[in-house]
Symmetry: C2
Subunit: 324 residues, 2 copies
């Protein structure tokens, strides 16, 4: 059985071996760049773990798993355009390092490079795997649309927010788990349970990501940076806070978010003060924990030996910081 580090290594190797149409070098430079700046390779690792649940032989899943990572990075390149984000993982985004047109076009080619990977799925699984991927790809676009829509909306319910992240983030993690399971030889019932397992992981992961924007940086920077608060980004915490706030607290939150000029530290402190009064950190953590627990209930039911499930348990725990 492979552990997370070994799988990540296999994925990174497969990424380096991706084949490129080399006739226009400028097209590929941003692709190689975004694929080289790392990350956890969560989607392909999850796919390979799901495959490894059912089969010792995971070779067949490596290229399709790599397709999931290529697709994910395609969405990062285009999302960064839409968000006007200058930096990702402490490095310039593709559109900042090159330009907008290059980010659009190099992003586009990645979508078809991802297809190329899925076309290498063993033929007996090809149609099923490609359909699962493609459904998720469309859902990711729908989720991004809702994200854009909600940024402009005054009121977003926490149900709407959760459905948005379900589409934008969880759908691909769900598809990744299911694709790995299918290639590993899982039956339909187990494959579907792994889809749901991945979906819960994705929901927990995004809530944790929102939490880390406030409570993660403190370890690194010695203070709360609160980038999401400064930029008025709709997060689970904000959406939930506005839902349960008193009229006075809601007024104070809106005041902070309507400020044209402000001291960032002061804004962050004031918003966090309200979050603390409303117990938002705890509410968010409980929800993320609930999702991970729901994932474990499903994992329990899957027809594979328990000792084969440990790596999926570990990665699920790590997503909500339970491994710290």
């Amino acid at each position: 059985m492979y552990n997370q580090a070994e799988l990540k290594k296999l994925v990174n190797k497969a990424i380096l071996n991706l084949s490129y149409n080399e006739e226009a070098a400028k097209l590929n430079d941003p692709v190689k760049y975004i694929l080289s700046i790392g990350g956890k390779r969560l989607r392909p690792v999850l796919a390979l773990m799901a495959c490894n649940l059912f089969s010792d032989q995971i070779d067949d899943a490596i290229i399709p798993a790599t397709g999931l990572e290529v697709f994910h990075n395609f969405t990062l390149v285009h999302d960064d355009i839409m968000d006007h984000a200058p930096v990702r993982r402490n490095l310039p985004t593709v559109h900042s390092k090159w330009n907008l047109n290059q980010a659009v076009l190099s992003g586009d080619v990645m979508a078809f490079m991802a297809n190329e990977c899925f076309l290498q799925t063993p033929s007996r699984h090809l149609l099923k795997v490609f359909k699962v991927f493609n459904k998720a790809a469309i859902e990711v676009c729908v989720g991004q649309q809702l994200d854009i829509d909600y940024e402009k909306a005054t009121i977003v319910s926490h149900e709407e927010y959760l459905r948005m992240i379900e589409l934008k983030t969880a759908a691909l993690l769900a598809a990744s788990s299911k694709i790995g399971a299918i290639i590993g030889g899982a039956d339909d019932r187990d494959a579907e349970m792994l889809y749901e397992f991945g979906r819960y992981l994705g929901l927990a992961f995004q809530i944790q990501d929102d939490l880390l924007d406030i409570y993660g940086d403190i370890k690194v920077f010695g203070k709360i940076m609160g980038g999401d608060i400064i930029s008025n980004k709709k997060t689970f915490m904000l959406v939930k806070a506005l839902e349960i706030a008193s009229i006075e607290q809601a007024k104070q939150l809106h005041e902070q978010f309507n400020l044209k000029e402000f001291d960032p530290d002061e804004k962050v402190q004031k918003v966090i003060g309200i979050y603390e009064d409303l117990n938002i950190k705890n509410i968010s953590e409980v929800l993320a924990n609930d999702y991970i627990n729901s994932a474990f209930v499903l994992l329990d039911k899957i027809s594979a030996k328990n000792e084969r499930k440990t790596e999926l348990v570990n990665i699920a725990n790590s997503l909500i910081g339970r491994d710290n």
Copy 2:
């Protein structure tokens, strides 16, 4: 046997029946818009004609053919962003009517809607058809990259220009013909000849498109006469003219293209004057004709009855205006 008008009708009907994820309506509005503003539906029509060469039953080819049109329109939406084009087919482009982010994202979802169509290819042809499509899709991106690169380059040879349009335009027409042939049951040799047939059509079509910018009727073509000259666009005519121009003529051409302020009519007249001295119109027409004739040589060799080839002959002739 189906004629061009009947096939176009079938394609338009299939486009209207495309299924959408309706959860974020704003995502789909630009997709429906760009797909509704028409055009010749050249790629799907070509695919269906190629299918109809070998089979009376073309139903299996309709959805994959529609995928070709959806993909083509995806490239139009993103190309219009990159070209800062305000208008297409006399109507505002997607990024002008909505905004840049919407054009990026709605374009993206079309790539996966195209996949969805190809996934409906009959399973015995699925892998082959999808591979042909996806290779072309990557080539279209490479061609667009070369187009961007060449716009900035001082010297582009006519060979480089032709290779660029081969990738950007001809590759998809070639793939369209081949995909139709495969689904129609053509053997590998015939399918490959239809690929080459479509490639020649694409090359002729693009050269004719360049010619029409100057010599086409504005009412028919819907853009300003000489728009390519006004905007310094590299066309076959310009590239060829610079290659065969005398030192004095080349100097005059560069002078026109370096003008910061100018009377458009005057610039167009001066450039066309040099084109006429260099016989560029004739050279271009001869080349486009040669490509169509090469396409016909291939069509002749394909193992289908001659009377089944008439619609492909007609559409090929119409692409270079021989039907006028």
